[in-house]
Symmetry: C2
Subunit: 344 residues, 2 copies
């Protein structure tokens, strides 16, 4: 019966039971907002106060509730990344460096798997938008008009990656797959290869490289380019069987461009098994330059993409935007390089 207990039928709604900023503030003998400032903008607060609050935090084991903070400030410090498949090695470097760069600046990464096929993508987008992330990183370009519309409507900064397009939704960091296809033809041509083949995953970017490859080979006056399309995600196994298929349909090949290093490893494995000498009889070129490429026997020539740089730049874009820093550029082309090794 201490005081003012004439409240009418008190509604109780106990929260999570966790320590709140209120508890910390009470223990420190200050107002909640002051405790908040001590934690978020320590420069604005007197030294003595800072100490009291930090002490109270340590004693209570307080961990802020960022759902509440995000709701109040309209800044979630959450970033979403959409990848075609979580277990594929290709984008993992990007996701890792993205995560590291974000974590270092107090942002948390959410992962969404879109699948190589664009089914169900709308539901995934809604699930992500409903968290109000401060940014969304797409591996690849968003093509579906519905998806673009939803992203635009949500007003969330978007970074498309691993590709270039003249019509990005917002920001873009990638490279030209068409240029890759061309460059690989040049590379092989310069090394005397004339009977070229491609093994490509059936995802959109691989096919773009493959088509550019064919066009460039044609332009160079080379004969028909043999093509095998394999389902994405690509595997060692599909590399093996694709080579088999090529050997049957187009004997006399002297070079194969594979749309992934795993595919290339499959080709090399099958070639070796059949007694086909790499590179003497057959040059093999991969894509992605995964860590193992350099250490294969023979070492695999591969198209190197700096996936870490892509992740870092994407993080930079989003954090800059979230912190309200002015942006000079919205598009970064990280390029690519062909790392020549023994397989060609």
């Amino acid at each position: 019966m201490n005081d003012e207990d004439n409240t009418p039928a008190r509604r109780t709604r106990r929260g999570s039971g966790a320590v709140t900023l209120h508890d910390v503030a009470r223990l420190a003998g200050v107002a909640p907002i002051t405790a908040s400032r001590a934690l978020n903008t320590p420069g604005q607060v007197s030294k003595a106060l800072l100490e009291k609050v930090n002490d109270a935090v340590a004693r209570t084991g307080y961990v802020p509730n960022r759902m509440a903070g995000g709701l109040a400030s309209a800044r979630s410090r959450l970033v979403a990344a959409l990848v075609p498949t979580i277990s594929g090695p290709v984008f993992m470097e990007t996701v890792r460096s993205l995560n590291e760069a974000l974590a270092a600046q107090g942002y948390q990464l959410m992962l969404g798997q879109s699948g190589y096929a664009d089914s169900r993508e709308d539901a995934l987008l809604d699930a992500i938008i409903s968290r109000r992330p401060d940014g969304i990183v797409l591996t690849g370009i968003m093509h579906s008009p519905e998806g673009r519309k939803r992203l635009l409507a949500a007003g969330i900064p978007v970074v498309e990656t691993w590709d270039l397009t003249p019509t990005p939704i917002d920001m873009l960091v990638g490279f030209s797959h068409v240029d890759v296809g061309r460059a690989v033809v040049d590379f092989l041509y310069a090394r005397g290869r004339r009977r070229l083949a491609v093994i490509a995953g059936d995802d959109e970017r691989s096919k773009r490289r493959q088509q550019a490859f064919q066009a460039a080979a044609h332009a160079a006056g080379l004969g028909e380019v043999a093509v095998v399309i394999v389902p994405a995600p690509t595997t060692l196994k599909s590399g093996r069987s694709a080579l088999l298929q090529l050997l049957q349909t187009s004997p006399g090949l002297d070079a194969v461009f594979c749309s992934s290093d795993l595919l290339a490893l499959g080709v090399m494995t099958e070639a070796q098994w059949r007694g086909i000498k790499v590179p003497e009889q057959l040059a093999v070129l991969g894509f992605g330059d995964l860590e193992f490429a350099a250490d294969l026997q023979p070492a695999l020539t591969s198209v190197r993409i700096d996936g870490m740089a892509i992740g870092r730049q994407a993080a930079q874009f989003i954090v800059d935007r979230a912190e309200g820093r002015p942006v000079d550029t919205r598009v970064v082309d990280v390029g690519f390089s062909i790392v020549p090794r023994d397989s060609t």
Copy 2:
């Protein structure tokens, strides 16, 4: 001045500007809570009302704000996964199936990278706890007392995975690394191998397998087991150089157990390069049974872990707990199997 607007100094605080449940409710001509029910528990509202609300949602493009929902309901529908490294292939299957199982039930996955070394882990834990996830999945066991304390204090359901321990924090789904080490010795012994070696990553679980392997070999009356420890994460390259080292220090080996398939591929690559016949002269056994293992030449014998089952079970544990379903078990041993192939 102008008129009798005696509202006391209206404080304005415009939100994100996005469509809110209020807007939807107003458009549908109902109370906000009713719109909320139409969306979350459609079974509780009349058919006509449901239609009106859905219509309003479609017309406004409303996407719920789950930060607000989570704050109000103390259920974030967010799950955090901690992995030692994002680009490692081993846990990716688990993360993928975890994500798929969670997404199917309306939960979102957050990723955190703990690193194989336990530095900075506390900060990461706080970052995660501050989001108030409905569950935390650890790949591996949480050993640091400080980490255990924080997790316990947070009161968030925890699933430790990929290992067994008599003292789990909460829930557990894994298998015995000690049993793996023993089983591999039995397997090799039964195939007539007597001069055994191990190549192990320097992470805790690999070392546990390696030690059990050594102990079992000793118990079986085999001579000294040659051991090479390589830094985690393991690579093809370290497999190659580890074999080199073994050949120099312990010639006459007839079997190598590698703590990852990538390591095993490195061993096979180096062996082939040096003209050592696998399996005739040297049996090679991997761990993880990654997709490529079966398609190598020779096909790689490997310890198969059902990483997808681990992810699914972890998701099940957490969702059951979040939905308040009774839990019968807290520990699941998914076991393992040795898949015999040509390399042994």
